[in-house]
Symmetry: C2
Subunit: 216 residues, 2 copies
Protein backbone atom coordinates (compact mmCIF):
# COMPACT_ATOMS: atom_id res chain seq x y z
CA UNK A 1 0.00 0.00 0.00
CA UNK A 2 2.70 2.49 0.98
CA UNK A 3 4.99 1.55 -1.91
CA UNK A 4 2.13 1.76 -4.43
CA UNK A 5 1.20 5.20 -3.08
CA UNK A 6 4.83 6.35 -3.27
CA UNK A 7 4.99 5.17 -6.87
CA UNK A 8 1.85 7.15 -7.71
CA UNK A 9 3.29 10.26 -6.01
CA UNK A 10 6.54 9.98 -7.97
CA UNK A 11 4.70 9.47 -11.25
CA UNK A 12 2.47 12.45 -10.49
CA UNK A 13 5.68 14.49 -10.00
CA UNK A 14 6.74 13.49 -13.51
CA UNK A 15 9.49 11.10 -12.38
CA UNK A 16 10.67 8.30 -14.69
CA UNK A 17 10.26 5.35 -12.30
CA UNK A 18 12.25 2.15 -11.79
CA UNK A 19 10.86 -0.30 -9.24
CA UNK A 20 13.00 -2.41 -6.92
CA UNK A 21 11.45 -5.27 -4.93
CA UNK A 22 13.19 -7.82 -2.74
CA UNK A 23 12.76 -11.55 -2.59
CA UNK A 24 14.45 -11.75 0.80
CA UNK A 25 12.98 -14.95 2.11
CA UNK A 26 9.68 -13.55 3.33
CA UNK A 27 7.21 -16.35 4.13
CA UNK A 28 4.80 -15.53 1.34
CA UNK A 29 5.31 -14.40 -2.26
CA UNK A 30 2.01 -12.51 -2.42
CA UNK A 31 3.64 -9.12 -1.93
CA UNK A 32 6.00 -9.77 -4.84
CA UNK A 33 3.08 -10.85 -7.03
CA UNK A 34 1.34 -7.63 -5.98
CA UNK A 35 4.45 -5.56 -6.75
CA UNK A 36 4.59 -7.11 -10.24
CA UNK A 37 0.88 -6.43 -10.80
CA UNK A 38 1.18 -2.80 -9.65
CA UNK A 39 4.32 -2.16 -11.71
CA UNK A 40 2.61 -3.72 -14.72
CA UNK A 41 -0.64 -1.81 -14.25
CA UNK A 42 1.02 1.62 -14.25
CA UNK A 43 3.78 0.77 -16.74
CA UNK A 44 7.08 1.78 -15.13
CA UNK A 45 10.42 1.81 -16.98
CA UNK A 46 11.75 -1.29 -15.24
CA UNK A 47 10.84 -3.51 -12.31
CA UNK A 48 13.58 -5.57 -10.68
CA UNK A 49 13.12 -8.25 -8.06
CA UNK A 50 16.42 -8.76 -6.30
CA UNK A 51 17.21 -12.04 -4.56
CA UNK A 52 18.71 -11.59 -1.16
CA UNK A 53 19.80 -14.07 1.52
CA UNK A 54 18.43 -11.89 4.33
CA UNK A 55 15.86 -14.49 5.34
CA UNK A 56 18.59 -17.15 5.63
CA UNK A 57 19.86 -15.19 8.61
CA UNK A 58 16.53 -15.67 10.42
CA UNK A 59 15.52 -13.62 13.42
CA UNK A 60 12.08 -12.40 12.32
CA UNK A 61 8.49 -13.63 12.21
CA UNK A 62 8.44 -12.51 8.56
CA UNK A 63 11.23 -14.85 7.46
CA UNK A 64 11.53 -17.59 10.07
CA UNK A 65 8.79 -20.24 9.93
CA UNK A 66 9.48 -21.14 13.54
CA UNK A 67 8.38 -17.66 14.68
CA UNK A 68 4.62 -17.00 14.38
CA UNK A 69 3.23 -13.68 13.18
CA UNK A 70 1.50 -12.10 16.20
CA UNK A 71 -2.28 -11.76 15.80
CA UNK A 72 -2.86 -9.39 18.70
CA UNK A 73 -1.23 -6.02 19.40
CA UNK A 74 2.17 -6.27 21.14
CA UNK A 75 4.24 -3.87 23.24
CA UNK A 76 7.47 -2.42 21.86
CA UNK A 77 9.17 -3.59 18.67
CA UNK A 78 7.26 -6.65 17.36
CA UNK A 79 8.72 -9.99 16.23
CA UNK A 80 7.88 -9.00 12.65
CA UNK A 81 10.80 -6.60 12.80
CA UNK A 82 13.47 -7.82 10.33
CA UNK A 83 16.90 -6.78 11.62
CA UNK A 84 18.31 -3.91 9.53
CA UNK A 85 15.82 -4.53 6.72
CA UNK A 86 15.37 -0.98 5.55
CA UNK A 87 19.12 -0.40 5.80
CA UNK A 88 19.70 -3.39 3.54
CA UNK A 89 16.92 -2.35 1.11
CA UNK A 90 18.11 1.26 0.98
CA UNK A 91 21.74 0.19 0.54
CA UNK A 92 20.83 -1.93 -2.49
CA UNK A 93 18.58 0.82 -3.86
CA UNK A 94 21.48 3.24 -3.45
CA UNK A 95 23.74 0.95 -5.47
CA UNK A 96 21.15 0.50 -8.21
CA UNK A 97 20.39 4.22 -8.29
CA UNK A 98 24.06 4.91 -8.93
CA UNK A 99 24.16 2.31 -11.71
CA UNK A 100 21.06 3.52 -13.56
CA UNK A 101 21.79 7.18 -12.73
CA UNK A 102 18.59 7.69 -10.78
CA UNK A 103 18.59 10.86 -8.68
CA UNK A 104 16.07 9.85 -6.04
CA UNK A 105 14.98 6.83 -4.04
CA UNK A 106 11.31 6.85 -3.00
CA UNK A 107 10.60 4.80 0.10
CA UNK A 108 7.14 4.28 1.59
CA UNK A 109 8.08 4.34 5.27
CA UNK A 110 5.81 6.07 7.72
CA UNK A 111 6.21 6.79 11.40
CA UNK A 112 2.64 7.54 12.49
CA UNK A 113 0.36 4.51 12.03
CA UNK A 114 3.23 2.02 11.94
CA UNK A 115 4.53 -1.00 13.77
CA UNK A 116 7.24 0.71 15.80
CA UNK A 117 10.15 -0.35 13.60
CA UNK A 118 13.20 1.82 14.32
CA UNK A 119 14.14 2.04 10.64
CA UNK A 120 10.93 3.86 9.68
CA UNK A 121 11.59 7.02 11.72
CA UNK A 122 12.60 10.42 10.33
CA UNK A 123 15.89 10.59 12.27
CA UNK A 124 16.92 7.19 10.92
CA UNK A 125 16.19 8.30 7.34
CA UNK A 126 18.11 11.56 7.90
CA UNK A 127 21.10 9.58 9.20
CA UNK A 128 20.94 7.22 6.22
CA UNK A 129 20.95 10.24 3.91
CA UNK A 130 24.08 11.64 5.60
CA UNK A 131 25.81 8.29 5.25
CA UNK A 132 24.71 8.00 1.60
CA UNK A 133 26.13 11.48 0.96
CA UNK A 134 29.58 9.97 1.66
CA UNK A 135 29.09 6.43 0.36
CA UNK A 136 29.02 6.61 -3.41
CA UNK A 137 31.17 7.74 -6.28
CA UNK A 138 28.53 10.23 -7.48
CA UNK A 139 28.11 11.66 -3.97
CA UNK A 140 31.86 12.34 -3.82
CA UNK A 141 31.42 14.22 -7.08
CA UNK A 142 28.80 16.45 -5.42
CA UNK A 143 25.74 14.66 -6.77
CA UNK A 144 24.32 12.42 -4.01
CA UNK A 145 21.20 10.30 -4.44
CA UNK A 146 18.29 11.76 -2.45
CA UNK A 147 16.06 9.61 -0.24
CA UNK A 148 12.42 10.69 -0.53
CA UNK A 149 9.89 9.57 2.05
CA UNK A 150 6.67 11.43 1.18
CA UNK A 151 4.54 9.34 3.56
CA UNK A 152 6.70 9.53 6.66
CA UNK A 153 4.54 12.03 8.59
CA UNK A 154 1.14 10.82 7.36
CA UNK A 155 -1.44 8.62 9.02
CA UNK A 156 -2.60 5.52 7.14
CA UNK A 157 -5.89 7.31 6.46
CA UNK A 158 -4.07 10.27 4.90
CA UNK A 159 -1.94 7.92 2.80
CA UNK A 160 -5.05 6.13 1.52
CA UNK A 161 -6.81 9.41 0.78
CA UNK A 162 -3.85 10.77 -1.16
CA UNK A 163 -3.35 7.51 -3.06
CA UNK A 164 -7.04 7.29 -3.90
CA UNK A 165 -6.92 10.81 -5.35
CA UNK A 166 -3.95 9.69 -7.47
CA UNK A 167 -5.85 6.64 -8.71
CA UNK A 168 -3.98 3.91 -6.79
CA UNK A 169 -5.83 0.60 -7.07
CA UNK A 170 -5.48 -0.65 -3.50
CA UNK A 171 -7.19 -3.91 -4.46
CA UNK A 172 -3.86 -4.83 -6.10
CA UNK A 173 -1.84 -4.16 -2.96
CA UNK A 174 -0.96 -6.62 -0.19
CA UNK A 175 -0.02 -5.47 3.32
CA UNK A 176 -0.70 -8.65 5.30
CA UNK A 177 2.26 -10.40 6.94
CA UNK A 178 0.71 -13.79 6.27
CA UNK A 179 -1.23 -13.41 3.03
CA UNK A 180 -2.18 -16.62 1.26
CA UNK A 181 -1.08 -17.55 -2.26
CA UNK A 182 -4.03 -15.63 -3.74
CA UNK A 183 -2.95 -12.42 -1.96
CA UNK A 184 -5.80 -12.69 0.56
CA UNK A 185 -5.12 -11.18 3.98
CA UNK A 186 -5.46 -12.62 7.48
CA UNK A 187 -7.18 -9.52 8.87
CA UNK A 188 -5.60 -9.85 12.31
CA UNK A 189 -1.86 -9.14 12.01
CA UNK A 190 -0.43 -5.72 12.77
CA UNK A 191 -0.22 -4.73 9.10
CA UNK A 192 -3.87 -5.77 8.50
CA UNK A 193 -5.07 -3.87 11.58
CA UNK A 194 -3.33 -0.64 10.53
CA UNK A 195 -4.58 -0.96 6.97
CA UNK A 196 -8.15 -1.71 8.00
CA UNK A 197 -8.16 1.22 10.46
CA UNK A 198 -6.79 3.48 7.71
CA UNK A 199 -9.65 2.72 5.32
CA UNK A 200 -12.22 3.23 8.11
CA UNK A 201 -10.73 6.59 9.14
CA UNK A 202 -10.49 7.70 5.51
CA UNK A 203 -14.18 6.84 5.07
CA UNK A 204 -13.35 4.69 2.07
CA UNK A 205 -14.35 1.17 1.12
CA UNK A 206 -11.61 -1.34 1.96
CA UNK A 207 -11.05 -3.51 -1.14
CA UNK A 208 -8.86 -6.00 0.75
CA UNK A 209 -9.74 -9.67 0.26
CA UNK A 210 -9.47 -11.70 3.47
CA UNK A 211 -8.95 -15.40 4.05
CA UNK A 212 -9.12 -15.10 7.81
CA UNK A 213 -11.61 -13.00 9.76
CA UNK A 214 -15.07 -12.57 8.27
CA UNK A 215 -16.21 -9.62 10.43
CA UNK A 216 -14.18 -6.99 8.59
Amino acid sequence: MDSATCLAIARQAGVDCYGLSFDYGQKHGAELDAARAIAGSVGISEHRILHLGLGELGGSALTDRRIEVPETPTEGIPTTYVPARNTVFLALALGWAEIIEADEIYLGVNAIDYSGYPDCRPDYIAAFQKMADLATSRAVQGNPVLIKTPLIDLTKAEIIQWGTELGVDYALTVSCYQADEHGRACGVCDACRLRCKGFKEAGLVDPTRYWGRTDK
Copy 2:
Protein backbone atom coordinates in the same frame (compact mmCIF):
# COMPACT_ATOMS: atom_id res chain seq x y z
CA MET B 1 44.39 -9.84 3.19
CA ASP B 2 42.64 -7.07 5.10
CA SER B 3 39.78 -9.31 6.25
CA ALA B 4 42.17 -12.05 7.37
CA THR B 5 44.21 -9.49 9.33
CA CYS B 6 41.04 -8.10 10.92
CA LEU B 7 40.02 -11.59 11.95
CA ALA B 8 43.43 -12.16 13.57
CA ILE B 9 43.16 -8.82 15.42
CA ALA B 10 39.70 -9.68 16.74
CA ARG B 11 40.81 -13.15 17.84
CA GLN B 12 43.87 -11.65 19.55
CA ALA B 13 41.47 -9.35 21.44
CA GLY B 14 39.62 -12.44 22.69
CA VAL B 15 36.54 -11.94 20.52
CA ASP B 16 34.31 -14.92 19.66
CA CYS B 17 34.27 -14.53 15.85
CA TYR B 18 31.56 -15.17 13.25
CA GLY B 19 32.60 -14.65 9.63
CA LEU B 20 30.35 -13.22 6.93
CA SER B 21 31.33 -13.42 3.26
CA PHE B 22 29.32 -12.39 0.23
CA ASP B 23 28.72 -14.23 -2.98
CA TYR B 24 27.57 -11.08 -4.74
CA GLY B 25 28.29 -11.99 -8.34
CA GLN B 26 32.00 -11.20 -8.35
CA LYS B 27 33.69 -12.61 -11.46
CA HIS B 28 35.78 -15.15 -9.62
CA GLY B 29 35.08 -17.42 -6.67
CA ALA B 30 38.71 -17.52 -5.50
CA GLU B 31 38.15 -14.97 -2.74
CA LEU B 32 35.30 -17.06 -1.32
CA ASP B 33 37.46 -20.20 -1.45
CA ALA B 34 40.14 -18.20 0.36
CA ALA B 35 37.63 -16.98 2.96
CA ARG B 36 36.55 -20.58 3.60
CA ALA B 37 40.19 -21.70 3.92
CA ILE B 38 41.06 -18.87 6.33
CA ALA B 39 37.93 -19.39 8.44
CA GLY B 40 38.69 -23.11 8.55
CA SER B 41 42.36 -22.66 9.39
CA VAL B 42 41.73 -20.51 12.46
CA GLY B 43 38.50 -22.22 13.54
CA ILE B 44 35.88 -19.50 13.98
CA SER B 45 32.45 -20.11 15.51
CA GLU B 46 30.58 -19.86 12.20
CA HIS B 47 31.28 -18.78 8.65
CA ARG B 48 28.36 -17.73 6.47
CA ILE B 49 28.46 -17.02 2.78
CA LEU B 50 25.46 -14.92 1.88
CA HIS B 51 24.05 -14.90 -1.64
CA LEU B 52 23.27 -11.47 -2.90
CA GLY B 53 21.96 -10.21 -6.25
CA LEU B 54 24.26 -7.17 -6.19
CA GLY B 55 26.16 -8.32 -9.27
CA GLU B 56 22.88 -8.66 -11.22
CA LEU B 57 22.66 -4.89 -11.03
CA GLY B 58 25.98 -4.55 -12.91
CA GLY B 59 27.93 -1.32 -13.01
CA SER B 60 31.37 -2.57 -11.92
CA ALA B 61 34.42 -4.24 -13.43
CA LEU B 62 34.24 -6.70 -10.53
CA THR B 63 30.78 -8.02 -11.43
CA ASP B 64 30.12 -7.15 -15.07
CA ARG B 65 31.99 -9.33 -17.58
CA ARG B 66 31.63 -6.60 -20.20
CA ILE B 67 33.80 -4.24 -18.11
CA GLU B 68 37.50 -5.19 -17.98
CA VAL B 69 39.54 -4.91 -14.79
CA PRO B 70 42.09 -2.11 -15.40
CA GLU B 71 45.70 -3.30 -15.48
CA THR B 72 47.36 0.10 -15.22
CA PRO B 73 46.84 2.80 -12.56
CA THR B 74 43.80 5.03 -13.20
CA GLU B 75 42.81 8.52 -12.05
CA GLY B 76 39.91 8.99 -9.60
CA ILE B 77 37.50 6.23 -8.58
CA PRO B 78 38.26 3.13 -10.68
CA THR B 79 35.80 0.93 -12.59
CA THR B 80 36.35 -1.77 -9.95
CA TYR B 81 34.24 0.35 -7.60
CA VAL B 82 31.01 -1.56 -6.85
CA PRO B 83 28.23 0.96 -6.19
CA ALA B 84 27.35 1.05 -2.49
CA ARG B 85 29.13 -2.25 -1.84
CA ASN B 86 30.38 -1.57 1.67
CA THR B 87 27.00 -0.05 2.57
CA VAL B 88 25.29 -3.25 1.43
CA PHE B 89 27.84 -5.50 3.20
CA LEU B 90 27.68 -3.48 6.42
CA ALA B 91 23.87 -3.40 6.32
CA LEU B 92 23.70 -7.19 6.10
CA ALA B 93 26.37 -7.57 8.77
CA LEU B 94 24.34 -5.23 10.98
CA GLY B 95 21.26 -7.42 10.54
CA TRP B 96 23.19 -10.61 11.26
CA ALA B 97 24.93 -9.03 14.27
CA GLU B 98 21.54 -8.22 15.73
CA ILE B 99 20.29 -11.77 15.13
CA ILE B 100 23.31 -13.54 16.66
CA GLU B 101 23.74 -10.84 19.34
CA ALA B 102 27.21 -9.85 18.21
CA ASP B 103 28.39 -6.55 19.68
CA GLU B 104 30.91 -5.56 17.03
CA ILE B 105 31.42 -5.71 13.29
CA TYR B 106 35.06 -5.85 12.18
CA LEU B 107 35.64 -4.50 8.68
CA GLY B 108 39.01 -4.46 6.93
CA VAL B 109 38.69 -1.15 5.09
CA ASN B 110 41.68 1.10 4.83
CA ALA B 111 42.06 4.61 3.48
CA ILE B 112 45.82 4.90 2.97
CA ASP B 113 47.10 2.38 0.39
CA TYR B 114 43.69 1.85 -1.18
CA SER B 115 41.90 2.22 -4.48
CA GLY B 116 40.07 5.48 -3.77
CA TYR B 117 36.70 3.92 -3.01
CA PRO B 118 34.50 6.44 -1.15
CA ASP B 119 33.11 3.78 1.20
CA CYS B 120 36.51 3.02 2.74
CA ARG B 121 37.06 6.45 4.32
CA PRO B 122 36.82 7.27 8.05
CA ASP B 123 34.03 9.86 7.60
CA TYR B 124 31.92 7.33 5.70
CA ILE B 125 32.39 4.74 8.46
CA ALA B 126 31.52 7.33 11.13
CA ALA B 127 28.32 8.23 9.24
CA PHE B 128 27.39 4.55 8.90
CA GLN B 129 27.86 4.16 12.65
CA LYS B 130 25.54 7.11 13.35
CA MET B 131 22.92 5.63 11.04
CA ALA B 132 23.33 2.18 12.63
CA ASP B 133 22.84 3.77 16.06
CA LEU B 134 19.26 4.52 14.95
CA ALA B 135 18.56 1.57 12.67
CA THR B 136 18.12 -1.45 14.87
CA SER B 137 15.96 -2.68 17.68
CA ARG B 138 18.94 -3.14 20.00
CA ALA B 139 20.27 0.35 19.18
CA VAL B 140 16.91 1.82 20.24
CA GLN B 141 17.36 -0.04 23.51
CA GLY B 142 20.70 1.72 24.04
CA ASN B 143 22.92 -1.12 22.84
CA PRO B 144 24.06 -0.36 19.29
CA VAL B 145 26.39 -2.62 17.30
CA LEU B 146 29.86 -1.05 16.98
CA ILE B 147 31.72 -0.90 13.65
CA LYS B 148 35.43 -1.60 14.16
CA THR B 149 37.94 -0.71 11.44
CA PRO B 150 41.36 -1.38 12.97
CA LEU B 151 43.18 -1.05 9.62
CA ILE B 152 41.64 2.19 8.41
CA ASP B 153 44.66 4.43 9.08
CA LEU B 154 47.38 1.90 8.25
CA THR B 155 49.46 1.46 5.13
CA LYS B 156 49.45 -1.96 3.43
CA ALA B 157 52.96 -2.53 4.79
CA GLU B 158 51.80 -1.83 8.35
CA ILE B 159 48.82 -4.15 7.89
CA ILE B 160 51.08 -6.94 6.63
CA GLN B 161 53.55 -6.40 9.48
CA TRP B 162 50.79 -6.53 12.11
CA GLY B 163 49.16 -9.56 10.52
CA THR B 164 52.47 -11.38 10.25
CA GLU B 165 53.11 -10.79 13.98
CA LEU B 166 49.67 -12.27 14.65
CA GLY B 167 50.45 -15.34 12.54
CA VAL B 168 48.23 -14.61 9.52
CA ASP B 169 49.04 -16.98 6.66
CA TYR B 170 48.89 -14.56 3.73
CA ALA B 171 49.49 -17.43 1.32
CA LEU B 172 45.84 -18.34 1.95
CA THR B 173 44.56 -14.86 1.08
CA VAL B 174 43.47 -13.56 -2.33
CA SER B 175 43.43 -9.84 -3.14
CA CYS B 176 43.50 -9.97 -6.96
CA TYR B 177 40.45 -8.68 -8.84
CA GLN B 178 40.89 -11.34 -11.50
CA ALA B 179 42.36 -14.34 -9.71
CA ASP B 180 42.10 -17.67 -11.54
CA GLU B 181 40.28 -20.72 -10.20
CA HIS B 182 43.38 -21.79 -8.25
CA GLY B 183 43.52 -18.44 -6.44
CA ARG B 184 46.53 -17.28 -8.45
CA ALA B 185 46.80 -13.53 -8.97
CA CYS B 186 47.28 -11.45 -12.13
CA GLY B 187 49.95 -9.23 -10.59
CA VAL B 188 48.87 -6.14 -12.50
CA CYS B 189 45.46 -5.01 -11.19
CA ASP B 190 45.17 -2.29 -8.57
CA ALA B 191 44.68 -4.77 -5.72
CA CYS B 192 47.76 -6.77 -6.78
CA ARG B 193 49.89 -3.62 -7.11
CA LEU B 194 48.97 -2.41 -3.61
CA ARG B 195 49.55 -5.85 -2.11
CA CYS B 196 52.89 -6.34 -3.83
CA LYS B 197 54.06 -2.86 -2.76
CA GLY B 198 52.95 -3.64 0.81
CA PHE B 199 55.12 -6.76 1.06
CA LYS B 200 58.11 -4.92 -0.43
CA GLU B 201 57.76 -1.99 1.98
CA ALA B 202 57.30 -4.36 4.91
CA GLY B 203 60.48 -6.16 3.89
CA LEU B 204 58.68 -9.48 3.90
CA VAL B 205 58.52 -12.27 1.35
CA ASP B 206 55.36 -12.07 -0.77
CA PRO B 207 53.78 -15.55 -0.74
CA THR B 208 51.30 -14.65 -3.51
CA ARG B 209 51.05 -17.09 -6.40
CA TYR B 210 50.72 -15.38 -9.77
CA TRP B 211 49.31 -16.60 -13.06
CA GLY B 212 50.10 -13.39 -14.91
CA ARG B 213 53.32 -11.42 -14.64
CA THR B 214 56.52 -13.34 -14.00
CA ASP B 215 58.72 -10.38 -13.01
CA LYS B 216 57.29 -9.98 -9.51
